[in-house]
Amino acid sequence: MKGDSIMTDVCLILEGTYPYVVGGVSTWVHALIGGLPDLDFSLIHLTASSEQEQERNLKFDLPPNLRELVAVEIDGYQQPHQVARWRPGPVSLPQSRVLHALSTGFAGLLAGQIKEQSEQPFILTEHAIYWREIAAGATEIECGFQVIRRAEQTEVTALRRHWTTTFRRLARRAYAQADAIATVCEANRRLQLQEGAAPEKCRVIPNGVSPERFASAALHPPCANGRLHVGLVGRVTPVKDVEVFIRAAHLLTGRLPGVRFTVIGPTDQDPAYHRRCLRLAEELGLNGRLTFAGELPPQECYADLDVMVLTSRSEAQPLAVLEAMSAGRPVVVTDVGACRELVEGADGDEEDRALGMAGFVTPPQDPQATAEAVLALCRDPALAARMGRMGQRRARRCYRQERCLAGYSRLYRRFI
């Protein structure tokens, strides 16, 4: 296959996200391509339906070094046992020196198939661990492929188990086929090793942000002006468990007079879930106190917030938490993915842990715990300011964008 057309250096294979959907992985991909301008990229966008694709608009200005964008449909594979047999339809795939799949699942499956034919090197990056997201309650995977349909709710437990097993097998297959495996945190790397990934292939390349972008927000200490504002920054989707945030807000209204709550993030990715959240807020009497602001540029999200909350059921290493920390905002996050590591410091990195806590970690699906943590910060501005400063130091020390880009630049060059 090589030599038939002008090749790009790297072909990214990803499901449903960039450049049509806003979110952490999309932001990461955009920063990766734009941050490595000396390499050129092509992109295979896997999507559950072509109709959906046509309706989608670009959510990002494409960097000039993204040379080719090809959409590939995943369709007609509705049963778990059919998935491993999926193959792309008659579409001309980009030629590249390196394949880089951004998840296991369909993306890893396709990368493995291309590698089998062409012997191109295959790099795998996992942000969230795919099969764990399904086990944790996701009904849909990134590309829009629904593993649990509404009509199937009655047999949901068995079906979920079946899909989890299927995607877990695909993950093991991708680990075996990949030449290098990267993930964002140590907890994920351990999971990959448990699933049979060879240690010599695995590495952690943490996400990164540019702290300078949030420096002006950090000039204002949190919880200092008496008009408290608590925000969740994330997509309004079930995996973010926005309902927990709404219930926590309800618990806080009597105890923090005048407090405002805002959900900052796109509301169009799961309109039914957004409606459910609006209904819940109304039922709990939060009209006027809690608003959905929609999507805002990252630099505008944090300056006006006193506490940033994330109530997700599953996460990888959320950029929104890193951004809030860079902006000197204390965070209240659920104990999923790398969230604890971000707030308390990485295990085994004593210097990082010595920086102290950047906020509080609470159990998932626990509005009471979320509310108590927010209350502790709002009632103690000195504590909020201290935790905000700790987060800012940690983000600057451990999670810089340049470090992430240098990690991928080295990894690509090893295989190019």
Binding site: N65, R413, R414
Partner: protein
């Protein structure tokens, strides 16, 4: 078709894309085969990344001069910079039995090109000359 052309870019990684585009358009125009163009593109990327990173220490605002000559017999690409001279004597090929992440740029050039020559004798930087013989059939 013979082609002769020159380009000057700034010492920034995002200018590498401009150079790559220039190289592809000129070599396509000259009827060079796709396989050779793909190899040249990779070699150019590595050579320019080395200049930006090592000769100019990632400092923008310095010129990198490129020239390309394609005739029936060969393709010659030269890259001149005014930064810290490249010490070709100290270069060691990477140990492929123990993969490392880095140090492959010069190795790639030697593997994909027929001639690779560094000249620092002018005293004003480094000229890298890369030659690829045209044994491939022209693309029409």
């Amino acid at each position: 078709m013979d082609v002769k052309d020159q380009l000057v870019i700034d010492s920034r990684l995002d200018a590498v894309a401009e150079a790559r585009e220039w190289l592809v358009s000129r070599t396509v125009q000259a009827g060079v085969s796709t396989k050779t163009i793909n190899d040249l593109k990779l070699v150019l990327t590595e050579a320019l990344s080395n200049v930006v990173r090592h000769a100019y220490d990632d400092e923008p605002g310095h010129p990198i001069e490129l020239s390309l000559v394609v005739d029936a017999g060969a393709l010659t690409l030269t890259i001149h910079d005014y930064g810290r001279p490249f010490d070709a004597d100290s270069y060691q090929a990477p140990d492929l039995s123990d993969p490392q992440e880095g140090g492959y740029g010069v190795f790639l050039m030697h593997n994909l090109m027929d001639q690779v020559h560094y000249d620092v004798s002018s005293g004003t930087g480094t000229t890298l000359t890369l030659v690829k013989r045209r044994k491939d059939s022209p693309q029409q």
